[in-house]
């Protein structure tokens, strides 16, 4: 030991205090914002804090929420998915046309549609890993492709008169006088599963490692391409589930669905505190982010404020959330 060397413990002492304020804000911030919004609307309207309003809010979050789970895992790897809403639209048209127009068994139609949306996701993944194209470009291209295919396959027509197998997710059951939809339960279950996989399994930790330091993850022996392919394919599967939820809610196959859901899902992810640079964020944050948007929308409607204000507030929240993330990153650099 030389005179200049210190024991590592001494250096450790002063860094313990630096546990970054930014990371605390970006973790607890979204939850605080959600509670604040709820508190505000509870005071403004006595109809807000009722079981049925809250249940409706969760129900209205289901489609974007499930899309946002897929969006979260893609963004955690440092990517982005602009094509999720239109992949969902393709799944939506496919499942309804197969069941209604082509006369497939509804469950077979569901299985085929989920397979096809998974393949869409996988295609994104192959283009990102094999051709090393930027996810933004790949999914922007896929946005147009899936949009066009939806219209071509859908013959520009809506598909009404759905069989009950395709609509039961929109049905509700009674919990202490409050109507809860099966779709809401499915969404919450998917969030729990996604949380579990990301937090508690090696595969999930690899997603974070890959997003935080791609080269480091590769050198650590993580098969990064395989992780990416799994992430994009799983995201595609989730977009298929979102399609089923959408079908159940709207009771129709709609060729115009999903055009802005990509941005709405990114909004939920970003408000939920996940970093667009990858490697940082949680799926629970995303759920909170999606709920914040729904709470503000429902709250403003209940208090009789023009709906455009919801869009305005959402915009401000997005910028604030990214600002906090940048702040956290700069502190830790």
């Amino acid at each position: 030991m030389t005179a200049t060397a210190t024991t590592p413990g001494e250096v450790a002492a002063d860094t313990r205090r630096r546990i970054s304020v930014g990371s605390v804000i970006s973790t607890l911030g979204p939850l605080m914002a959600l509670l604040l919004a709820c508190a505000y609307f509870s005071v403004k309207s006595d109809r807000f804090l009722t079981g049925n309003t809250l249940s409706l809010i969760v129900q209205q979050t289901a489609v974007v929420g499930v899309l946002a789970i897929g969006q979260t895992i893609v963004i955690l790897t440092g990517g982005i998915d602009l094509s999720n809403g239109v992949i969902m639209a393709f799944g939506n048209i496919m499942v309804t046309r197969l069941a209604v127009v082509s006369g497939f068994n509804p469950y077979a139609a569901i299985a085929i549609a989920l397979t096809v949306t998974t393949l869409f996701g996988l295609t994104n993944g192959v283009l990102v890993t094999a051709l090393r194209l930027p996810p933004f470009i790949v999914t922007l291209g896929m946005y147009s492709i899936a949009f066009a295919l939806t219209r071509i396959y859908g013959h520009q027509q809506s598909v009404p008169n759905l069989p009950s197998e395709l609509t039961w997710l929109g049905k509700t059951f009674d919990v202490g006088g409050t109507a809860v939809s099966y779709g809401s339960i499915l969404m919450l279950a998917l969030f729990v599963i996604a949380w579990f996989v990301l937090r508690q399994t090696a595969a999930g930790r690899h997603v974070y490692a890959l997003g935080g330091n791609p080269e480091g993850a590769r050198l650590s022996g993580i098969r990064t391409r395989r992780v990416l392919l799994c992430v994009y394919a799983s995201a595609g599967f989730l977009y298929g589930i979102a399609a089923l939820l959408l079908v159940a809610r709207t009771q129709v196959g709609d060729v115009n669905a999903g055009l802005t859901d990509n941005l709405e899902s990114i909004t939920a992810v970003v408000i939920g505190g996940t970093s667009l640079f990858g490697g940082r964020g949680t799926v629970i944050g995303t759920l909170i982010g999606a709920l914040i948007v729904s709470v503000i929308r429902a709250g403003l409607t209940l208090t009789g404020v023009e709906p455009t204000y919801q869009v305005l507030i959402t915009g401000i929240l997005v910028i604030a959330a990214v600002g906090v993330d940048q702040f956290a990153r700069r502190r830790s650099a």
């Binding site: 200049t4 001494e10 250096v11 450790a12 935080g212 330091n213 480091g216 050198l219 650590s220």
Partner: protein, 277 residues
């Protein structure tokens, strides 16, 4: 000093077999010869520094040994058995761990997660086999043991790596390598980005790794560091090993002179090491 004297005084060369040995490595990039028949020997329990001017083939040599590139010609032997690495993962599986200059750590993950990155331990029983749950407690406990083995005084393994100082991050990277290497640890410029205090800490770490029985290959531009910590110094020049010296028998300016060709390196090279046949 003559070659025979060096080999007589050198305990490493005294009948012991090198743990990692390379002969006649050639690597060319078009017309550029990065390695022009380099030999290499690392003996058990030593810190071997590799120095050389830019373009001497230092980093190509290390890349071959760590599996990042495959040589055009030449052989590498680990523990007397010929090996051929086609990727860094191959080298790792064979027990050669590399600490990279740009630190292969994920800043937003905690210390235990970084130590076990890519080698997560699953929970016993159904939770591990069916639900694929990782054993966070065990990984934290093992991380704590590895870190304290190397006398890195960080108490919480839950601390995110981004909250650590540069030296501590290097400590995490070194601890990860030392924990999983069963043959060799390669460190590529481990002190390049560090201040004086932290450099001292990392040099102590390198000694701790050696004292735990793992030989270390240290690549460094920093002559005082090299002379402070290395047991032997491999000097690379124009794509070849031109000399192997012991720091206490030469001055830093001798080493630089050999490195730049101002002093004839061949004279100080142990011929037995260069050509064992």
């Amino acid at each position: 000093m003559t070659a025979t004297e060096e080999s007589r005084q050198s305990p490493e060369a005294d009948g012991r077999t090198p743990i990692l040995r390379a002969r006649g490595l050639v690597k060319s990039y078009g017309s550029l010869m990065a390695l022009d028949g380099t030999d290499f020997d690392l003996y058990p329990g030593e810190i071997l520094a590799v120095i050389g001017d830019n373009g001497a083939g230092k980093s190509s040599l290390i890349k071959v040994l760590s599996g990042a590139i495959t040589p055009d010609e030449g052989t590498v032997e680990l523990d007397g058995k010929p090996v051929r690495f086609s990727s860094p993962v191959d080298a790792r599986r064979a027990g050669i761990e590399t600490v990279y200059q740009d630190l292969a750590v994920a800043p937003a993950m905690d210390i235990a997660e970084n130590l076990f990155m890519g080698r997560e331990v699953r929970r016993p029983g159904v939770l591990g086999s069916v639900f694929r749950m990782i054993d966070k407690k065990r990984m934290a406990a093992e991380s704590r043991a590895h870190m304290s083995d190397l006398k890195i005084g960080i108490r919480s393994m839950k601390q995110l790596v981004e909250t650590l100082s540069g030296g501590q991050r290097q400590g995490v990277a070194v601890a990860r390598s030392a924990a999983f290497a069963h043959h060799v640890v390669i460190m590529d410029e481990p002190t390049a980005a560090l201040g004086v205090k932290e450099t001292g800490m990392v040099l102590d770490l390198i000694r701790s790794v050696r004292d735990r029985g793992l030989p270390v290959i240290l690549i460094s531009h920093n002559m005082p560091n090299v002379f402070e910590v290395a047991d032997r110094v491999h000097i690379q020049r124009l794509g070849r090993r031109i000399a192997v010296i012991k720091p206490h028998e030469f001055t830093m300016s001798d080493a630089v002179a050999i490195m730049t060709g101002a002093m004839a390196g061949e004279k100080v090279t142990d011929e037995k090491i260069v050509d064992p046949t």
